[in-house]
């Protein structure tokens, strides 16, 4: 009951008309930022920090505003994934796989509603999880050392086959390209730069946002120019939006499973929202009895990753608040905000500054309800932004892509690199190679390598260290099963042979 009284205190601080107004503004702005390709939650929050200071906001209103933007961006990312086949931010990448095919079949409205509700379920349950379990969950992070993290990333790679639905070899090749790109930059274990050719801008490695915007948004623009818009993603029409109750009922299980997986991935500081949505998708696909529709517009393929990435966003606040360890780029920015407000996250935050923690939680719950209202009945408002005529939208997407990337580092080098990725994305699309595994390679490859190398330093090069704890062993078994099981199951179930011309991702 202590939780309820604390929560009541949180609401009494956070639920004033002024902060509610800020929450509505934050949610709206956040959703737009999330929907625009290239501007992800991390940029959104980073851009708004100076604004919140110049508005002279106190700690709690500032937190309400920025967490609303954070959650809003997590919701908004799906809109352009579904309608444009361009993920608005990196965790929304998995939503393109089934969301866009649904839109192509004229079910864009259904996809938006299902994903909106899934986002709500994921974020709401995760916020409650944060509220109830945060002090205990903080301890989970202590159980994860280099060996455990390595096994976790390995599990992700072993289930990679789940996304390249038509050609496993092409998916593997794409992942290898991603892993190769991940090698660029300063090697943390020796302090030596690799593949930088003396270029300072490459020392930090390739930012995956640059890769995402290039591979998806810029490549889409090239494709549009080539086909004169005939076969392009841009310009999907959206009919009347009705609530597809049957579809929601059908996807309830997917949402709840996605939430569970996403939350766990979020709580682990080294994992984050992208891994959460990825694992939620592949788990849902492997758990489904009838997999034939995945990648072609299965609503479960929209519900699971959206629930997963929003739950991970809530979960990522656990290590940020209780340990001061940010689990993602956005929580790193939020951490910075707290520090500038003289609030030091760490093991003592819950006891020393309960008013901050509980009003933050109250703010998250408020933001979620506002976002559900905005993203289901009012989703058309945001869709209008994206469904303007192609001659407006296309230059707009290009401009936002460039501005977004420039705002990351303030250097033109990244913009050139983004164009390079655009060319790569265009070529890959022509060769029918999926681009999602490239991003996963970049995103997970670095962390996987770092953890392997750390494990080897700690154990003096003893490989058995990688299996030395029950958690690590369990993850290894799951990884091996995830890799091998589909091969055998396919034989047992006598699945019909793959059709020769299966539509590729994003077609």
């Amino acid at each position: 009951m202590e939780i309820l009284s604390n929560l009541a205190m949180g609401f009494s601080i956070a639920a004033t008309p002024y902060t509610l107004l800020l929450a509505v503004i934050g949610c709206f702005v956040g959703t737009i930022i999330g929907a625009l390709p290239g501007l992800g939650p991390a940029n959104g929050v980073a851009l708004l920090i100076p604004i919140s200071f110049s508005m002279g906001l106190d700690a709690i209103p500032a937190l309400v505003l920025l967490t609303s933007v954070y959650y809003g961006a997590m919701y908004g990312g799906r809109i352009s994934s579904i309608l444009l086949n361009i993920p608005g931010d990196e965790p929304a990448m998995m939503t393109t796989l089934d969301g866009y095919p649904m839109a192509k079949q004229g079910k864009a409205g259904e996809a938006l509603v299902v994903s909106g509700v899934a986002s709500f379920v994921g974020a709401f349950i995760a916020t409650i999880g944060l509220m109830v379990f945060a002090p205990y969950l903080a301890r989970v992070a202590f159980k994860f050392g280099p060996a455990e993290y390595f096994a976790l990333y390995l599990l992700a790679f072993c289930t990679l086959g789940g996304i390249g639905s038509n050609n496993q070899a092409k998916a593997a090749m794409a992942a290898a390209i991603g892993l190769g790109i991940a090698m660029i930059g300063l090697d943390k274990t020796t302090g030596m730069p690799r593949f930088t050719f003396g270029e300072l801008h490459l020392q930090d490695g390739v930012d995956f946002l640059v890769a995402i915007v290039g591979l998806f948004a810029v490549a889409e623009v090239f494709f549009f120019i080539e086909t004169h818009g005939k076969n392009s993603a841009i310009g999907v029409k959206l009919g009347k939006i009705l609530v597809p109750w049957r579809m929601l009922k059908q996807t309830t299980g997917a949402m709840l499973r996605g939430t569970g997986i996403g939350f766990v991935a979020g709580v682990l500081p080294g994992a984050g929202a992208s891994l959460g949505s990825f694992l939620a998708y592949t788990a849902e696909k492997s758990a489904a009895r009838d997999k034939s529709q995945f990648g072609k517009g299965d609503p479960r393929g929209v519900a699971a990753p959206e629930a997963g990435n929003n739950a991970a966003a809530g979960g990522a606040l656990v290590p940020m608040l209780t340990l001061g360890v940010p689990g993602s780029g956005t929580t790193a920015v939020l951490l910075a905000l707290l520090l500038t407000l003289n609030i030091t996250p760490g093991p003592l935050l819950f006891t020393e500054r309960p008013e901050v923690v509980w009003s933050l939680i109250a703010a998250l719950l408020i933001a979620n309800i506002v976002l559900l209202l905005m993203n289901v009945p009012m989703v058309k408002v945001f869709v209008h932004i994206l469904s303007v005529p192609a001659w407006v939208l296309l230059p707009g997407v290009t401009m936002v892509a460039f501005v977004g990337i420039y705002s990351l580092t303030g250097s033109s080098f990244d913009m050139l690199m983004m164009v390079g990725f655009g060319v790569l994305g265009y070529i890959m699309r022509k060769l029918e190679i999926p681009t999602v595994p490239v991003i996963l390679g970049i995103l997970l490859g670095n962390a996987m390598e770092d953890n392997l190398r750390r494990a080897m330093v700690l154990s003096d090069g003893d490989w058995t260290f990688l299996f030395s704890s029950p958690i690590a062993t369990g993850l290894w078994i799951a990884a091996v099963l995830g890799f091998v099981a589909p091969v055998f199951l396919r034989r047992f179930l006598k699945k019909p042979p793959m059709p020769e011309t299966e539509p590729k991702v994003g077609d």
Partner: protein
């Protein structure tokens, strides 16, 4: 409806623009890090004291651990008298290791430092090590028995703290010292509390929460004297190891400005460093007094770099 939403987008995009100001501080990292903090606090106090003509604009120019900002200042803004750049031990460490694409420390003018974050060595609460000499003896007996975790990459300042301490303690085989670099001090703490590493080095301000909560036990602080608020933590010097490792917070300016302009910055920084506001900022953020200005600071930077280069050569990071 369409116009309304488009207006909203336009409003967001325009609100990003910041009004121009005379003085500018470049933070060579994204918002939120130590350099960003230095810029924002020094800038704010300069405005409050009337040292700056108006608001000090903060520009974040991230990349290559400060290298992108450094090369831009050297190559493009060499005679701009209105810009100053946040710096810390990380800046000089990377300069010493030639990590800024061939740039050297004498291509800019070092103004001074007005505070420092004392280095600290901590162990898990249930660790067998009670004092710094305990830990060092264990390493001398078997270097592979102790792994350090730190918030910087190999060769970074957190790693150097370990190596310099062991160097001073007479342990010369420093290539055998185990160190894993993770993302930031808090992450290094979780590895230590989890028992994956036996000790952790970092900056005191990063980990005050963990010390107060009792998750970790500090065994030495690497400052000249005990730090206010942490009076029960002994310095390394008291324990017989003559090492001071402060992550200083300071600024540099372009090389090409006049001596008067340089002196103007030194005076301005001194005023900030001696202000009550800065003292307050330091206590709130776990910084200790550590001020060196002008020519003295130029010498300090040169010595610092020479020392880092020696250790970097010993561990094979530098040829």
């Amino acid at each position: 409806m369409k116009n309304w939403t488009r207006a909203a987008v336009a409003a967001i995009l325009t609100s990003i623009a910041v009004p121009a100001a005379a003085e500018e501080c470049i933070a060579p990292a994204n918002p939120g890090g130590g350099w960003d903090f230095t810029c924002r606090q020094i800038g704010r106090i300069m405005t409050d004291l009337g040292v700056a003509s108006g608001l000090v604009q903060v520009t974040n120019l991230a990349g290559a651990g400060g290298g992108v900002a450094y090369s831009q200042v050297v190559n493009e803004r060499n005679d701009d008298p209105d810009v100053f750049i946040a710096a810390s031990s990380a800046t000089t460490t990377r300069l010493a290791q030639n990590a800024f694409g061939g740039a050297t420390a004498d291509q800019v003018r070092w103004v001074g430092t007005i505070g420092g974050d004392p280095g600290v060595i901590v162990v898990a609460a249930d660790s067998e090590f009670e004092t710094l000499p305990d830990l060092i003896e264990a390493i001398k007996a078997d270097p592979s028995s102790v792994a350090f975790a730190g918030g910087s990459a190999v060769g970074g300042f957190d790693h150097l703290k370990v190596l310099m301490t062991l160097d001073k303690a007479g342990f010369t085989d420093i290539r055998k010292v185990k160190y894993i670099g993770v993302d930031g001090g808090a992450d290094a703490i979780t590895q230590t509390v989890g028992g994956f590493a036996q000790a952790m080095t970092g900056d005191l301000s990063e980990i005050t929460g963990f010390i107060k909560s009792g998750d970790v036990r500090p065994i030495a602080v690497l400052s000249e004297e005990r730090v206010e608020g942490f009076e029960d933590v002994p310095t390394a010097k008291e324990q017989g190891i003559d090492i001071v490792a402060m992550n200083w917070r300071g600024i540099y300016v372009p090389k090409g400005i006049s001596d008067e302009d340089y002196q103007k910055w030194v005076d301005a920084l001194k005023q900030v460093g001696e202000s009550e506001e800065w003292q307050k900022v330091m206590t709130e953020n776990g910084l200790a007094p550590y001020s060196i200005y002008g020519d003295e600071f130029e010498t300090f930077v040169a010595d610092n770099i020479a020392q880092t280069q020696k250790i970097s050569k010993d561990i094979g990071l530098l040829q």
